[in-house]
């Protein structure tokens, strides 16, 4: 069985985001592999290392040229080959799932691993939409996974707690913090990765048509009162805070 892992290159969490012409401008911004996706890459590698019948692990990125770096990182972590569907057009997650589904079918994939939420678009839709296009079940927000033959079991978060589950592959799984600790690529592996295949696919061949338009973007800063209270006299500070919360902010009865 082959595993498909999705990776994206996103701004570093601490990087400043700026807007120009009603859109987020990433020029000069420090970019990194989306941390949520790294959990998926790591988990695929661990499944193979634990002796599950994993033939190939393929990393897929869809988007601008910068995503090559995310694919190089995945290759250096240990995936076997990479596919980059390069496009500068911004597609929503439901549209992008068309590419994921087509690649999964062409590459004979039995399991897709993708980050639970994207650190740039804050979207959680790619995994679920890909699963629907393929007619596969999905497990989201997983924090424990075990592959035994074609049975995948594990644990994931749900609205009111967490569940243990079992499912027969094929399936789509979204990953999150707590699943594992992603490895750092070692220098020898970074060197080896340079020789691995990074295939470029033509986005046009996937028949994409963006369905969601972004018509504006703004940096969100809510004006805050920034009223500072001196904490040297704890009783006085506590009384003053409660008074402000009751009578100025009106958030306490």
């Amino acid at each position: 069985m082959n595993i498909l892992t999705l990776v994206r290159q996103v701004p570093d969490a601490e990087a400043r985001v700026k807007i120009s012409q009603q859109a987020v401008d990433l020029d000069g911004t420090t970019l990194v592999v989306d941390g949520m996706d790294e959990y998926g890459v790591e988990e695929a590698l661990r499944m193979r290392e634990s002796g599950a019948g994993v033939e190939q692990i393929i990393a897929l990125a869809i988007g601008p040229k910068r995503n090559e770096d995310a694919l190089r990182t995945a290759l250096a972590m240990g995936v076997d080959r990479a596919i980059h569907v390069e496009t500068n057009e911004q597609f929503d997650a439901v549209t992008l799932s068309k590419v994921v589904a087509q690649v999964a079918q062409a590459e004979n994939v039995g399991l897709i691993l993708v980050g639970g939420q994207e650190a740039d678009w804050d979207s959680q839709a790619l995994g679920a939409a890909s699963a629907e296009r393929l007619g596969w079940p999905q497990l989201t927000w997983t924090n424990e996974l075990k592959l035994d033959g074609d049975t995948l079991s594990g644990r994931h978060d749900v609205d009111d707690g967490n569940e243990s589950f079992r499912v027969t592959l094929p399936a789509v799984v979204t990953t999150q913090q707590g699943l594992n600790e992603p490895r750092y690529p070692t220098l020898p592996n970074i060197m080896k990765a340079k020789k691995k295949e990074l295939r470029k696919d033509d986005a046009a061949s996937y028949g994409l048509q963006a369905r969601v338009r972004t018509v504006g973007a703004e940096i969100q800063t809510r004006a805050r009162r920034n009223t500072m209270i001196d904490g040297k006299d704890p009783q006085a500070a506590a009384a003053q805070l409660l008074e402000l919360l009751r009578n100025e902010a009106k958030v306490l009865a």
Partner: protein
């Protein structure tokens, strides 16, 4: 029609459903506001929903006793098609954002995810959503015979009855057999208000010092104020608190009236989950802590001294 899929838990209609009704009313989209209630033994929930909707469709079936992404997606899709819905509104909960994309694919509809506003703009439906760890607000729009939307919890006021209660109708559904087998479930029970429903939240960070102090100070203050309890990832990773309480990028997103952060540094990943709170109150001994930059009220001081005084004073 506008189709809203109800969120409910423990036999009660969730606040999220009332918020979705407001989103539908404010959207300017025409047609009856229809709430679909999926579950088992849901007649009381349907009656609650009828108070705010033009009509309520009820699927009271054993197969719907527990949520499943594939079943829910099939049910919502079938009703949207039969009722010729032009707008399908689903809650922005973990489960809502899990099955809504499947509905969008099934209906071949564009999907506006986790919006905080909703309005018709010509033929298009327009919404705002937070991106880049909630640091950016983007305005997005889509058009089509039908558009699927999830609504971020806490973004709209809860709807109150406007006019007579809507009629209730039973619906028949053809549902797929769930393929995911649930082998165990652990419900994180809390005697407190759920974080996403709480109007006041007290959150503890590593600065609280220990699990014992967390109980004493964070839970103590929450009890005194009738508030929900939150935690930072540092606290969850240290095993002091359950993951269900984590607020942030990889935890819950909350927007209470008041968010009281005790010993929380204010890392971007934390801010992305609570930065939209109406009032942020921070207590931290480090005057330079980034949390103060987003605070409405801040006390520079030691948790061990300030919080007991606060608990004492709030009881008066």
């Amino acid at each position: 029609m506008i189709l809203i899929v109800a969120e409910h838990a423990a036999g009660k209609l969730g606040k999220a459903t009332l918020e979705m009704v407001t989103a539908a009313r404010e959207s300017g989209r025409e047609g009856p506001i229809t709430v679909l209630v999926l579950g088992q033994n849901v007649s009381a929930i349907a009656t609650e929903a009828a108070a705010v909707a033009d009509q309520v469709l009820v699927a009271d079936l054993p197969q719907l006793a527990t949520y499943n992404a594939e079943t829910w997606a099939a049910a919502a899709t079938q009703i949207a098609q039969e009722g010729e819905a032009h707008t399908v509104i689903i809650g922005g909960s973990r489960s809502g954002r899990e099955y809504a994309p499947r509905v969008a694919v099934k209906l071949d509809a564009p999907y506006l995810e986790d919006v905080t506003s909703l309005k018709a703009s010509g033929a298009a439906l327009q919404g705002q959503r937070y991106t880049y760890l909630a640091r950016v607000t983007e305005t997005v729009e889509a058009e089509g015979p039908v558009v699927v939307v999830t609504v971020k919890p806490g973004s709209f006021a809860a709807a109150t009855p406007a006019g007579a209660a809507g009629e209730q109708y039973d619906v028949e559904l053809t549902l797929p057999a769930p393929r995911v087998e649930i082998t165990g479930k652990s419900v994180e029970k809390s005697s407190r208000v759920a974080l996403t429903e709480a109007d006041v939240i007290v959150t503890g960070g590593r600065g609280v010092g220990s699990p014992e102090n967390f109980s004493k100070y964070v839970e103590g203050l929450a009890d005194a104020l009738g508030a929900g309890v939150g935690a930072t990832r540092a606290v969850v990773d240290a095993g002091w608190r359950p993951y269900a309480e984590q607020v942030g990028q990889t935890g819950k997103t909350v927007q209470p009236g008041a968010y009281i952060a005790l010993g929380v540094s204010g890392a971007v990943q934390h801010l992305s989950g609570m930065g939209k709170s109406k009032n942020i109150i921070a207590i931290n001994k480090d005057a330079e802590a980034p949390i103060f930059k987003v605070a409405d009220y801040g006390i520079v001081g030691d948790i061990n001294e300030i919080v007991p005084a606060l608990i004492e004073a709030s009881k008066r």
